[in-house]
Amino acid sequence: MASASMTKFAQSDDDIRALIEAVRQQPTGLPLNRRGFLKLAGAGLMIGCCLPVSAGPRAKGPGGRGQGSAKAPVFNAFVQVAPDNTVTVFSKAPEIGQGIKTALGLIIAEEMDADWQRTVVEQAPIDGKTYGYQGAGGSTTIPRAWDQLRQAGAAARAMLIAAAAKAWQVDPGQITAQDSLLTHAASQRAATYGEMATAAAKMPLPDMAALKLKKRGQYRLLGKSHRGVDDPALVTGQPLFGIDVRLPGMLYATYVKCPAAGGMVKSANLETVRAQPGVVDAFVIAGNGKPSELMSGVAIIARNTWAAFQARKHLTVEWDESEASADSTVRFAARAREHARSFPAQADVNIGNVDQAFAQAGKQAGKIVEAFYEYPFAAHATMEPQNATAWWRDGTLEMWAPTQQPNRGQTSVAALLGLPEDQVIVHQTRVGGGFGRRLINDYMCEAAAIARRVKGPVKLQWSREDDFAHDFLRPAGWHQLKGAVDKQGRLDAWQEHFITFTANGKTPSSGADYSRFLALYCKAPNLRRALTMMDLRTPSGPWRAPGCCAQVFAQQGFMHELAVAAGRDHVEFLIDAVSRDVPELAVKDPAVNFSPARAAGVIRLCAEKAGWGKTLPKGRGLGLAWCYSHAGHAAQAVELSVDADKRITLHRVVVAVDIGQVIDLAGAESQAQGACIDAFSTALGQQAQIDNGRVQEQNFNAYPLLRLPFAPAVIDAYFVQSDAPPVGMGEPALPAMAPAVANAIFAATGERLRKMPFSHAGYQV
């Protein structure tokens, strides 16, 4: 019988898994029909040419109020045009470093034919009723917004043309629009968007079904390289991030939780803490027992962050750890090895006849390979430690938060405090790194609970140590693999025993399930997969390219082992495997864009650009891997050398990506390069070790991020140009990097790496 606290814990994990599912949902109902668009865009128009004033101007920057364009005519919730011809477009999603603010702005401006040099991109208010989903996660922001934003831009353009046609008494079909200028060639008349804005904003919304959206050949902005819209403010140190929020009379809070998840405050020396310099108050919050929302802890409120952090050193808490995590990564690893010895009686997938295939391979000159792959828990370690600012007054809670899920944050906070949702106002700030950590809004819930007890605005600031201690870790995993190639050297059988975790005793914990499409990469006609789940009490969660980020390492490493055993060219072996026709593995969901042809396309492009097959000097190796992750196809080839001390030098990385239409080429290249470095950094030396429920790595000196001298000499990114609709770029280029490095190390040294981080085997940079 599970205790109440364990049930709460399991509920928290269920919530996170439901969140991942919701984030994953690809757009299927779009494009919006006229009614949908009216609902979406109408509010501003009906109110009378303004974005909802309750939120619009206040959404400008942390704490910024009432600046700018409150009086400029509004076309819809995404577009305003000022009489001076400045076009303002609104980015509805959080900027977490994926370049979304620039990309979403470009999509609108493209269809609108706006002059990009005179276009300003503003953060939209958090208002799910107007904007729909406003999150950033799962690389889904672009595909989910693509049709909506193109229509918003095209509608504004049509209204401008209609206004000009009316003013000039000409056929709208004869008016051209380009760079925020309307022209009627026959009568030699021209007007800027700004000159026509007031009249245009009053025109009826065009028929959405009749709006003609551009084709790829007509794009003037999309697919080219652009600067980041916030970069001038960024490089001059202007306040953009959640941590930069400052409000009049603001106090600063720190929140101390049990280092082992689930521990509760039994008692605390609050009087001693209250007596510390700069401290205003200290109190216990009971919490609701959900790590994803609000755990028990001690809040210290002070005049500045440092005073709060210093006072913490004098805090003594007696924790009730009877229900807390006592997890141990050493114990998990030992148990996983035990589990790996036998294949479970119950398989989750069973196609063909795996046993027969292995028997045949043994008899008929096929090859059988067995291997055990493992990877550790990993921290998100966003550069901006978690924080949120909250202000409780007159029954309303106003919040500023660097979150990936502002709508959900609003919902969670409202439910936690028992407020109607419209009494929780959330302002989206720039986010100093997401990687999936900020899909979960625990810091918002904490700040909200603290603000209820504090007079005036209060900023909750986690220390870096808090950030490592209370993460939602990428779960560790172990894969016992057995594969067979037939006498022609084709993949014939794949048996996989995945040892993972559960929080509820029934289903894998968040981030710990099978990666959904992995079986499609290497279609074995005989396939058997089974799970063993160990109980996990430490919170887990999605980490950049969840599922794929670690499982692709095992799978693509093992595919290379099979190719080597078969004596086949690795590239041909991979393409052969993904191109197989195995009816049981056919994709039936039309929203899933997985394509063997696109997979083969990125693998071949990558191999060609990397000089696949070339002769390398001794000690150098070229390794390759690919993946389909978060709707993108991507392949990496890594050329490296290894010295006698197992020091790795990355000479060149080639990354080939198919994400359909590229929005901002410079941004997409950034994501590709960043993903390579993030993945290498993680594979080489990062692990979160847990002992007695406590994460051992507490700061960056114990959790190494790759430093500049050890970055690859070159990373060349190539994008497949196609008419396919765009998908996100935050995740697809990450998962194949680690196995590409491992495969290259095998090519260079003959040593097969089956365990991350590679530092276990003595590798270093």
Binding site: R227, G237, M383, G432, I715
Partner: protein, 151 residues
């Protein structure tokens, strides 16, 4: 009360002498460009200049600053070198999340002030103390090379 010289301006602040400069800048003076990343001098996000030398503001107590001139990301653009770095940082599109970039620019400014024409190894070594979680490494190198060329 003590007087600090920050970006060419005098600020009189009331803070305990053992308070790290970072929190004086951020919470008391309101210059939030220097970032809190680790608090132990391990990430470089809080890098500022004290008389032109790079320092981790999270590890420098305000009482130890004395008469040294403090320069932060908000003031680095007052020098031609700082302004040039900010310009190439935008043109090269270095930033992803951008949180570490203030510290990166401050470290690059110290490098180029001392070594106007650094080689690749010198660039890497000078920037090795600044972490970037997003992996902007390639663009960091490119931006510094662009800054050398545009000098």
């Amino acid at each position: 009360m003590m007087t600090l010289r920050i970006n060419g301006q005098s600020h009189t602040v009331d803070a305990p002498a053992d308070m790290p400069l970072l929190w004086v800048l951020r919470d008391i003076i309101g210059l939030t460009g220097s970032k809190y990343g680790c608090g132990v001098g391990a990430c470089g996000a809080c890098t500022v200049h004290l008389d032109g030398q790079a320092a981790h503001a999270c590890r420098v107590t305000v009482g130890s600053v004395g008469k040294r001139a403090i320069t932060t990301i908000e003031g680095i653009g007052q020098t031609p070198l700082g302004a040039r770095l900010q310009k190439v940082w935008v043109e090269t599109k270095v930033a992803q999340c951008g949180y570490c970039q203030a510290g990166q620019i401050m470290s690059a400014a110290v490098l180029l002030a001392r070594t106007p024409q650094p080689g690749e190894a010198e660039i890497d070594a000078a920037m090795a103390d600044n972490l970037c979680r997003c992996g902007t490494h390639m663009r960091l190198r490119e931006a510094i090379k662009n800054a050398i060329q545009s000098a």
